[in-house]
Subunit: 343 residues, 2 copies
DNA sequence: ATATCGAATGCAAACGTTTGAAAAAATAAA
DNA sequence: TTTATTTTTTCAAACGTTTGCATTCGATAT
């Protein structure tokens, strides 16, 4: 009774005692259709709220106009900025973004990819989960490659694959951050690093290490402590750092969240920022400009990454012949604020 | 040449010189299929990476197992928490979430809804955009209702519609926040409110106003200033407040972001928190616990809202006969921290 | 040998739409 | 009126899969 089956082209055809093809053509303003017929049909269609079934069209044309965006999380500023960038470019072109959150979980990532393929998604933007990284499995990606579905890596890349990728230059960002600390005169710089195995974590760590080396400063294991990107994960590590016999005089957090967590601990210890302890983050999240003191950080162009990734995808789709795989690396930029500005 | 058309059931049938139906049944473990045939077909299918075309199935079964989530933004903690909640319940049931970000834009919202309907989405979770609110247009929702596609309002509700909704009790949350300030002894309480027209903003404002009235405190227009939920939008208003002849001794921010922006300004003026100025936010975002001083706030159960909304959806889908429309209001809870704790 | 049964497979329709080609209808020219 | 031409409409196939109902084939019972 209340079935309320959506109106189809056939329903309309029955109503006008004509064939479905006529209705289809009328609705699509095909020139071969009589003016009156067209008007009547279009009016009636509007009246009864006809909306064409895109599923059937997808089947017919093998085009779905939908894209998969597979990311570990959407709880950070950076990730949402990337999505916004993708959206900015792709939405106007008629693409629908199917956002899949893996929670850093390998199985979920695998499931999502498989589902996206089954749904005949036309392209996939992927930032692999931490578990995937750790495990080193990548079979679930094979089927994407095999199907020649355009696959764009975002941010976390997979060295082994021949695909396009858009990443931020984490290495030089971290390098610049540490160099800045050294220039200011900080002597003992700690690093609250990200989870092991992630490119992001490792690149920033590498930037930190290499910069210290460049300036002939010792790289000390005990000054490098793991976090998981979240505010609270910075608390215990920072306490440990500050309670050392020889505590650091500056802390480089793997992201703003971690740096802000550290900031809290430093203040609890009643140490002056930036005089006694310098602090620096990564991401340039909106809040970093408004902490007290404001946080020196490295900006990551998330929106731009999203837009560049879109471009990479479009290149593959429109590119005649073989795909051209490109790697784009956008620079990150040091944003100096109060948390490091001692004179 | 590199067309790489996905393998279909027909391809497999041709390979085995049998009919597509046999292949279909074999792949689905139909009992009427010969054991050997089944094995051979399944093995071959795995080998060539067959993946069934869900689009065709959707067409056949009129089921897409995809749900639309239409939200104004995903840049806030709360929204992402809601999505996480939806995800938690619905992903295991095989649903795909199609997340659409409207950027508070009416036209985009309309387009998304239309597209979701065209794609035969089985349900829509909607938090209407600000523009929709302001304009008061709701025709784009009519077609959703007409199609009897389950529509669940999240958070921002539309009084005029007969639909299910899951919202947070903003009113009492705000009331409790202000009451807390009054209990502590703050005498002149300002409110940095959210954009006009949004239920969220208005409910919190109402809670603020009603609480003041209850305690016979004057409601002063000049102590109520607009913001747009973002950190930076709190800066100028807070300055204006603090430079008044009779400045407030407490500020209630419409969310944590705004409160944190205000916190920054208060500190710049070298006023003591909470002694000279009390501060309170809304959302209990992760960072609010780690500002210095930590921020008193009202927690909104975003994850729970998402889970409850899922439940409402499932009720509609599984419910025999007519839909049962439910309204769920979850309580918000005061979280007392340092920014209001003066003795 | 014939009827009966069971197992395994095939046929055909269905989902909603588009589209080239053919057919029908209307109009113009001879 | 007949033929040629143009306009308008219909037919049928296609996209990939499932499924109720035949159909086939071999085996068993009569």
């Amino acid at each position: 009774m209340n079935s309320s089956r959506p109106i189809t082209i056939k329903d309309i055809a029955r109503r006008f005692r004509c064939s479905p093809s006529t209705v289809s053509r009328a609705l699509n303003d095909h020139p071969a259709i009589n003016e009156d017929t067209r008007k009547n049909i279009q009016e009636y269609a509007r009246e009864v709220g006809y909306q064409r079934n895109e599923v059937s069209l997808s089947l017919l044309n093998k085009k779905t106009a939908s894209l998969g965006v597979v990311v570990p999380t959407i709880s950070n500023y950076y990730e949402t900025a990337v999505i916004e960038g993708l959206h900015t470019i792709l939405q106007p072109l008629g693409y629908t973004l199917n956002i899949c959150v893996t929670n850093e979980n390998y199985m979920l990532e695998k499931e999502y990819l498989s589902k996206l393929l089954s749904n005949r998604t036309e392209g996939i933007f992927l930032s692999v989960s931490q578990e995937t990284y750790d495990s080193g499995y990548y079979e679930h990606l094979e089927s994407v490659i095999q199907r020649k579905t355009p696959l764009i890596f975002i941010d976390r890349e997979y060295e082994d694959f021949e695909t396009s990728r858009a990443t931020v230059d984490d290495y030089h960002g971290a390098f610049a951050a540490v160099e800045h600390l050294i220039n200011i005169g900080y002597k003992r710089i700690a690093h609250l690093k990200g989870p092991n195995g992630l490119t992001v974590s490792e690149q920033r760590l590498k930037g930190y290490v290499d910069c210290l080396k460049k300036y002939d400063m010792p790289v000390q294991e005990e000054l490098i402590i793991n976090t998981n990107f979240k505010v609270e994960s910075a608390i215990v590590p920072t306490k440990r750092l500050l309670e050392m016999a020889a505590p650091p005089d500056a802390i480089f957090g793997v992201n703003d969240q971690v740096a802000i967590g550290a900031m809290r601990v430093v203040k609890d210890k009643e140490l002056k920022i930036p005089q006694e302890v310098g602090l620096i983050g990564f991401d340039n999240s909106p809040i970093s400009a408004y902490t007290f003191p404001s946080l020196t950080t490295v900006s990551r162009p998330g929106r731009k990454i999203g837009m560049e990734a879109s471009r990479l995808f479009l290149n593959q789709v429109n590119g005649a012949g073989d795909f051209i795989h490109e790697s784009i690396v956008l620079p990150s930029e040091l944003v100096i604020r109060e948390s490091t500005l001692r004179i």
